[in-house]
């Protein structure tokens, strides 16, 4: 089936999506625009692999498409499959919450929910030097991003970005509550202008850290408020928007 027709529909592993033929070469040459990136460059996102005929689907889910920046026809752009899963696989650049499981000299070992533990160097914190070590204990929560994450190597995390600033990463403070949800819910919560977060923030003030590995850390003023927010976020996986609004209205009425 052609890739363009299947956008927004459910695809199953084993389906082959045919790509449109290359655009006309002459039309490219006549353009004087400074489009340096080659048109017709297709990005194959999660859930898809290249095969001779086109794209082979490897995960079940909804097929999505995003146009290329230049507004060209379906020649450029990215295709990916929106699938729901619970297990996290480390990806470079993802921000995740890790739990410190061991301190081995200069290295911390973190559990990020993948098949291997990630390593974190003590120098990868803002303002850390050999004399000024960060105060990390076993069992602490760390919010960081993956520097190295591929199938062949052990994942490595850092708590600073490329310019050396922490930008929100580092050791997560005391108290609060950590729980696990599915990866699809995290992506929904991280979308810009997420309704769930806006409605919750009108209920009580709270601190929230979302890890792409399915872990969420919440802290509100009292334990009871924290647990209410945890229950609502866990239930968001199954509730529709109306049910959620009803539940929040009942809570804010009390």
């Amino acid at each position: 089936a052609a890739a363009e027709e299947c956008v927004g529909q459910v695809v199953l592993p084993g389906d082959v999506l045919l790509l449109p033929a290359h655009p006309d070469e002459d039309a490219e040459r006549l353009r004087l625009s400074a489009g340096a990136a080659p048109r017709g460059r297709l990005l194959c996102g999660p859930g898809l692999r290249r095969c001779e005929a086109g794209l082979l689907v490897t995960k079940c889910g909804l097929l999505r498409h995003r146009q290329a920046g230049g507004g060209a026809a379906a020649a450029g752009g990215a295709y990916w499959v929106d699938s729901q899963q619970k297990r996290y696989v480390p990806v470079k650049g993802d921000h995740v919450i890790g739990i410190v499981t061991a301190k081995a000299g200069d290295l911390f070992k973190l559990d990020v929910g993948g098949s291997e533990q990630a390593s974190l160097s003590y120098l990868a914190f803002e303002g850390a030097t050999k004399r000024n070590r960060p105060n990390v204990q076993v069992g602490d929560l760390i919010y960081g991003q993956f520097l190295v994450a591929n199938k062949d190597m052990e994942p490595e995390m850092v708590c600073i970005d490329s310019s050396g600033r922490s930008s929100g990463m580092g050791i997560i403070g005391q108290d609060g509550f950590l729980f696990k949800v599915s990866l699809g819910l995290i992506r929904k919560l991280l979308a810009p202008k997420c309704e769930i977060i806006q409605e919750l923030s009108q209920l009580y003030p709270f601190e929230l850290v979302l890890g792409m590995n399915g872990r969420i850390w919440v802290k509100a003023k009292t334990v009871q408020q924290t647990l209410i927010i945890v229950n609502i976020l866990e239930a968001c996986e199954y509730m529709t928007a109306e049910q959620r609004k009803q539940a929040l209205a009942k809570l804010s009425g009390n």
Partner: protein
């Protein structure tokens, strides 16, 4: 769908994501036979079982009563071979994938019900797959008639019972298991009937997944 008899399958139903602990879970019901499957992976692997270039897949089949015996072990190997053929294990080297199947009730065609439950749990867990597979059981009556998806009674009366695991891309055979005696032509007949019936099972998978994603 008509029950038993002739070249039609018993009514089937499935449920996905019903267990909260495993990374993927599915229950498949075929007539009176039902199997519950759970999948954990890709997870940490113990040193000896680690494979350097692909994931180590393990299948555990638990019968309804009693401890697992030799039949369960041989079925586990068949399921493992089928799953390894479709799972892209090369994307998760040095990790372990564990598939646990629990037989809830056995009303005939148990092995094909296990195969279908295994495929649905692989779909539910989000592991990368190159194709889907399904299981179809055929019973050869004493007079040579082919009955698809036989009940326990029909299996006992049959001269031979054959189970095929068929893949979704080209309807090729991934695994075959037989009990009893039959000629080569009869086996080809059964295989052709199973490949035709496999289309109905794959359409059912598609409808299941469609229903699951239409809710979100």
């Amino acid at each position: 769908m008509a029950a038993g008899g002739g070249c039609s399958l018993r009514p089937f139903s499935c449920e996905q994501g019903l267990l909260s602990r495993p990374d993927g879970s599915a229950a498949f019901v075929q007539g009176a036979t039902s199997v519950l499957a759970g999948l954990y992976g890709p997870a940490e692997v113990k040193g000896s079982r680690e494979l350097p270039d692909r994931a180590a897949l393990e299948v555990l089949l638990r019968p309804k009563v009693g401890l697992p015996g030799v039949t369960e072990r041989s079925r586990e190997q068949l399921l493992r071979g089928t799953c390894e053929a479709v799972v892209l294990g090369g994307l998760h080297p040095r990790s372990a994938i564990t598939l646990v199947l629990q037989v809830l009730s056995d009303g005939g065609s148990l092995l094909s019900c296990c195969l279908n439950a295994a495929c649905l749990v692989l779909l539910d867990s989000g592991l990368p797959l190159s194709a889907l597979f399904c299981g179809v059981t055929c019973a050869l009556g004493p007079d040579g008639t082919v009955v698809l998806d036989p009940t326990t009674r029909q299996e006992q009366d049959a001269r031979a019972v054959l189970t095929f695991a068929i893949d979704s891309v080209e309807r090729k055979v991934l695994a075959a298991s037989s009990k009893g005696s039959c000629s080569a032509e009869e086996m080809q007949q059964c295989l052709a009937a199973a490949q035709r019936a496999a289309g109905a099972v794959f359409q059912f998978y598609r409808d299941c997944v469609r229903r699951k994603y239409s809710k979100s």
